[in-house]
């Protein structure tokens, strides 16, 4: 089987198939990240697809080895989600589809679920990366584009919004 660095090298040289094969193992995580950030499964798939195209166009800018690929791609997905939320069509469609608070937070949802959805997408991002995708702290920090200590702080701060008696030792 072909070594991953060689596939990456071919992808950087412009081989779309190599790039797709590198991306495929990351698509599930990328989708989950986008779905939680956007709270919309269909939009999440659109965001992942758009992020994949952008990543392909920027693949020459990828620094480091193939281990850099995941945080690099997830950061593009997160940016795409931010863009999607800012885009006008998003606002227009969502405004037309406004739900009542009761419908937004059905009784079947747990308090934690409701608390999670009350967070902003950027507050959900470190939680997803840490608690859901189980990214190591180094990758988490690279995805957020901050230092490891800052990444720790962001995860802890967001987790405290869900449960205020958490200590940082319980989070990490």
């Amino acid at each position: 089987m072909e070594q991953r660095p060689q596939v990456l090298a071919r992808a950087v040289e412009g081989d779309a198939d190599s790039f797709s094969s590198l991306l495929e193992p990351l698509l599930d995580q990328a989708y989950r990240l986008a779905a939680v950030m956007l709270n919309d499964r269909s939009s999440a798939e659109d965001a992942v697809q758009e992020a994949a195209i952008k990543a392909w166009r920027k693949v020459r800018q990828l620094r480091g080895d193939s281990g850099s690929l995941r945080p690099w791609f997830l950061s593009i997905v997160a940016n795409e989600c931010r863009m999607a939320r800012r885009t006008r069509w998003w606002s227009v469609i969502k405004l037309a589809d406004v739900k009542s608070p009761a419908a937004e937070e059905p009784e079947s949802h747990s308090d934690l679920h409701r608390a999670l959805l009350r967070l902003t997408p950027d507050e959900r991002l470190p939680l997803v990366l840490h608690f859901y995708l189980d990214l190591p702290l180094e990758e988490l920090a690279r995805t957020l584009g901050v230092s490891q200590s800052a990444a720790k702080s962001r995860v802890y701060r967001a987790a405290r919004r869900l449960r205020d008696d958490l200590t940082i030792e319980e989070v990490f």
């Binding site: 779309a16 495929e24 698509l27 989708y31 989950r32 779905a35 697809q49 166009r57 999670l116």
Partner: protein
């Protein structure tokens, strides 16, 4: 809620929110990536086009804002303080080449005048005199001062007698001729690019002598000794930047 319970419930919550991706997501992405290279060209071309446009804009701005040597008399506006004298009848000189026709030249004047740039420089600068030339023409003798660029304000002060005060020494110098014209040029020096004589005795019937009276702290004064009335006309020429002073003579 214990820490483990919190983590477990949070995991379930994330699952509830996200669900699973549709089965065709991989195909969608692969297809999109495969088709994407065609889109790379326009992006690349757009980048190059943006650079070219930026270079053009910078070039246009540079050309529009660079110091503008006027091609004819346009270097300043005249604020005459004297009445004009009868216009000379001489034909245009062969030198400098861009001298306008006689009818387009300003009239001779016998009083003080001040020339100031119509568009003052945004930053103070010092222009360098690079050459002095004199010549004889029918009806006038000509002094041509060549600059790197057009100077700032220029004043002309006719006077009786040819005694001038040298600056900064304060000594007096008497030039040839009967009357004089003092030319004061601000923002100019006559020692950076100029290596010719600073005192020229011409022997002409009108312009008898040209002498540097001051070249100090960005101000150059030239004293002209003239044999007849201290009547003159002055104008700018471009390419190269020149200040032309014609001293009126009898014929």
């Amino acid at each position: 809620m214990s820490n483990d319970d919190f983590r477990r419930e949070l995991g379930h919550t994330f699952d509830d929110v996200a669900g699973s991706p549709s089965s065709n997501l991989r195909d969608r992405v692969r297809s999109a990536v495969t088709q994407a290279p065609e889109a790379r060209g326009p992006y690349w071309i757009a980048g190059v086009a943006a650079c070219v446009i930026a270079v053009l804009i910078v070039g246009v701005l540079y050309v529009a804002n660079r110091p503008n040597p006027p091609s004819l008399v346009a270097g300043g506006h005249e604020t005459p303080s004297a009445s004009p004298s009868p216009e000379a009848t001489a034909s245009p000189s062969a030198q400098p080449t861009a001298v306008p026709t006689q009818s387009a030249l300003p009239p001779f004047v016998c009083g003080s005048t001040t020339w100031a740039p119509s568009q003052p420089a945004s930053t103070p600068y010092t222009e360098h005199i690079s050459d002095l030339r004199t010549g004889v023409h029918s009806g006038y003798d000509r002094l041509t001062i060549t600059f790197d660029r057009m100077p700032g304000q220029v004043e002309f002060h006719p006077q009786s007698g040819t005694a001038f005060t040298l600056s900064p020494s304060g000594m007096r110098a008497t030039l040839k001729g009967k009357n004089g014209i003092l030319i004061v040029m601000q923002g100019t020096d006559m020692h950076t690019s100029y290596s010719g004589p600073t005192d020229v005795v011409t022997g002409y019937s009108g312009l008898a002598e040209v002498r540097r009276v001051e070249d100090f702290e960005g101000v150059v004064q030239l004293g002209l000794g003239v044999n007849g009335a201290a009547c003159y006309r002055a104008f700018y020429l471009g390419s190269p930047a020149r200040l032309v002073i014609d001293v009126q003579t009898a014929s």
